[in-house]
Amino acid sequence: MSKRKLTDAHLPVGECITQVQEILRERLCCQKLPDRPEGVEAQHKHLLELLKRTAVHGESNSVLIVGPRGAGKTMLLKCVLRDLLEDKEVQKNLLQVHLNGLLQTDDRIALKEITRQLHLENAVGDKVFGSFAENLAFLLEALKKGDRSSSRPVLFVLDEFDLFAHHKNQTLLYNLFDVSQSAQAPIAVVGITCRLDVLELLEKRVKSRFSHRQIHLLSSLTFPQYLERVRTQLSLPDDFPDGKFAEDWNASVKTLCEDKSVEDVLQRHFNSSKDARSMHMLLMFCLSRVSVSRPAIKPADLLEASRLCFADAKANMLHGLSILELCLIIAMKHLNDVYEGEPFNLQMVHNEFKKFLQRKSNSMYNFDQPVIMKAFEHLQQLELIRPVDSSSAKIQREYQLMRLMIDHSQIMEALQKYPQCPTDVKQWAMSAFG
């Protein structure tokens, strides 16, 4: 299969679909950078300006990018870096250190990683350092030596910045901010975090060294913009090999976005969250349904995808329980109603269940206590019920107090869908008093 770009060539449908999948998957799954960050132009300009000053003029800076998950913080930074590195001078000069709070879980690991990313393992060798600051100073000092008279600017990117604040004494943050404050080596510290209160996590001495520059990415997306974004995410670029196919595809995407039912679904998604990630998830489900036999996204696909996204996981799990386990859940629901959410134990649940059985005079569900215990433990394993206190060592299992972790509406919803649910069980669940 050749993937050469052919203008206005007609490719077989299979080939086209492969191309479509490839392009869109790169967008949805591996977060390919857009040509131009949308909706965050001001922030983009600000950050680019700031980093340029470090990279070109050797000014030190520190900045935090704050925004909820999926708001495009990393995307913004990557776009800025891409634009920044277009400058040949900068490309040659700027050193980058990328740290992630998830990976560098303490300062020792972080320092090792910094050394590695600055390619200074040889310079450090077997040296023993008295303190962290000394070590960092040595690293930065090492950068000064070389053919250039002044030291090279270093860009520190700290992803998941809030996690660095949990390190012991916040040594890394203290030293980085300290260097950026005092005119030592030119460094820029960019922190990325989803916590708005991240400054509260910093110690006083660290906080005072931070420049207090924050770039907020709080989405002010409106629904028409959201719709537009969905359309652009699904549209094919102009340089698609088969021009005719791309045209058809884009037209079909356009009609899709104008469909009333699709709009309703998207509105619902927009109302629950408007970040890019959850949109990608929805579109990924749609995309997965595209194949040779169905070479376009239909409104039905989007509806199905939305159903998958909004499916209630707990109701799904309730669907797979045995009748006995379901009966226990219903008994718990009644206990919750009667005692207003007080915790219960197995004996109470069993008693409630027995009351139901007596009324029905139906021996079908007469089970021994151990069988019921096993069902109860299965529910606990599925974390549908949870012990009130974890110290269960001294309490018999049947008297361990539990709480139900499912909402009543979820139970009723699951009952409606339950296959071959006996009518008496359904009525029992429906009745107000157990």
Partner: protein, 453 residues
């Protein structure tokens, strides 16, 4: 590469980019799971394309999650690493297994002792730059709920591993617990959620019927499965458990056939023969109180002498000294009766106690629902002296019997060990157990229990 649209009967694995015969082979290996497999395949896309960074598959135990994943990855020859989180007692094992499967043992040996996530990602990136992924690599994590108990950073990092290592890699988490219970406090990269629904009764029947013994007809075996499901389906829908039970009890089902008493088609007689047997299995095998070997032995024993076979739940064979039995009875009474009623139960001349006053039935929930209450040692001894027939001196032997009851976990000590003057206890035995004990010493315990007045 061949582009195939599969329309073969019994396959819903359609429009995916693999050879037809391979897909057929895959479909044959997973009865009743074609829809889910098709969905997964279409999400995974073509091997060289990117796939979503993390996929979370949840569903009940034995709903085919691991099996489907395993068959798909193996039959379609996709690069993958399967990690069971039960086996990985330390993260080092996890990292090692992933690196080993993707890059061979040289890469795995690069890991330092007690590696951190940072080391893992570093080595992965380094290896991956040498041999970049031509096809999506898959990491399958079974029993992913255990990841929550490890380092808090591990799960969020794995979910965005694709971004961290900049490789075409997809994490697939398998669990029987819903995703809501996984989400860390500050959120994380949200995986795609996929549900594997439970097998319906018909599907269970279909799958179980496949294990039939070659010397019996298919109808015969499936009628057996039908009877088995009739007994167990309302309690258990776990395929693996049902399969175990089916295998254990089949020989019993065939017995009348071998003796020539009934024909294969006489389902009713066969049912009459096996039904009590299966009910018994529910009380023993299903609860794992006897092993399958013991169960078989019990079946043989039963033929010789029709003695009652009982599981451990019957609690019949606990031998205790005479006074210990009374101590236990006294402890039970002290735990389940309110202290104010002791006068009525244990004093010969307790004067007049109004019955209405005594039975405060507005205390609605009985003590047998709420569980045992703690009681001081004095009360235990007082009740003990009045229930035991002859006079007993409070000797060291009595006290040592109390502490051995605690060691046997029939009593539990509630107060701290350092509280010597007034230790408190709780009785930790069930009603059935104490009734059995009191029967051996001819003591009618029910007469003394407040709940049963």
């Amino acid at each position: 590469m061949v582009v195939v649209v599969l329309g073969a009967p019994g396959t819903i694995l359609r429009s995916v980019w693999y050879e037809e015969e391979r897909l057929l082979r895959v479909a044959q290996q997973m009865p009743c799971r074609e829809v889910q497999a098709g969905m997964l395949l279409s999400l995974m896309g073509q091997p060289q394309q990117y796939s979503y960074p993390s996929i979370f598959i949840y569903g009940h135990r034995a709903s085919g999650k691991s099996h489907v994943m395993h068959v798909l990855l193996k039959e379609l020859e996709l690069p993958h690493a399967t990690v069971s989180c039960v086996e990985c007692v330390s993260v080092a094992l996890l990292f090692e297994q992933v690196l080993l499967s993707f890059f061979g043992c040289d890469a795995a040996s690069l890991l330092p002792r007690s590696p951190s996530l940072s080391d893992f990602v570093r080595i992965y990136r380094q290896q991956c730059s040498q041999s970049p992924a031509k096809q999506t690599r898959y990491i399958v994590m079974e029993k992913a709920e255990l990841l929550r108990d490890t380092d808090a950073n591990l799960l969020p990092a794995l979910l965005r591993l694709q971004e961290l290592v900049e490789d075409n890699v997809t994490i697939i988490l398998l669990s029987e617990i819903v995703w809501d219970k996984f989400r860390p406090n500050t959120g994380c990269f949200e995986p795609l959620l996929l549900h594997f629904p439970d097998y319906s009764k018909g599907e269970l029947q279909q799958i179980l019927s496949q294990d039939r013994h070659p010397s019996y007809t298919a109808e015969f075996y499936s009628s057996y499965i039908n009877i088995l499901l009739g007994v167990f389906y309302s309690v258990c829908r776990d395929l693996r458990e049902l399969r175990h039970l089916a295998a254990l009890n089949f020989s019993k089902f065939c017995e009348p056939l071998a003796e020539g008493k009934v024909k294969e088609t006489d389902t009713h007689k066969l049912w009459r023969n096996i039904e009590p047997h299966l009910k018994k299995a529910m009380q023993t095998v299903y609860l794992r109180e006897v092993s399958s070997l013991q169960w078989e032995q019990m079946q043989q024993m039963e033929e010789k002498e029709s003695g009652a076979l009982r599981g451990l739940s019957a609690h019949t064979h606990v031998e205790l000294p005479y006074y210990s039995k009374f101590l236990l009875i006294a402890a039970y009474l002290a735990s389940y009766n309110p202290a104010r009623t002791d006068k009525r139960f244990f004093l010969k001349h307790h004067g007049k106690i109004k019955k209405t006053n005594f039975l405060k039935k507005n205390e609605k929930t009985s003590n047998h629902l709420l569980g045992p209450k703690p009681f001081p040692l004095d009360r235990l001894l007082a009740i003990f002296y009045s229930v035991v027939d002859n006079r007993v001196a409070p000797t060291a032997s009595i006290f040592s019997q109390i502490s051995s009851l605690v060691t046997l976990q029939l009593l539990t000590q509630v107060s701290h060990d350092d509280q010597l003057d007034a230790p408190k206890y709780k009785c930790a035995v069930s009603m059935d157990f104490i009734c059995a004990i009191s029967r051996t010493v001819n003591f009618d315990i029910v007469k003394y229990l407040y709940d049963f007045l």
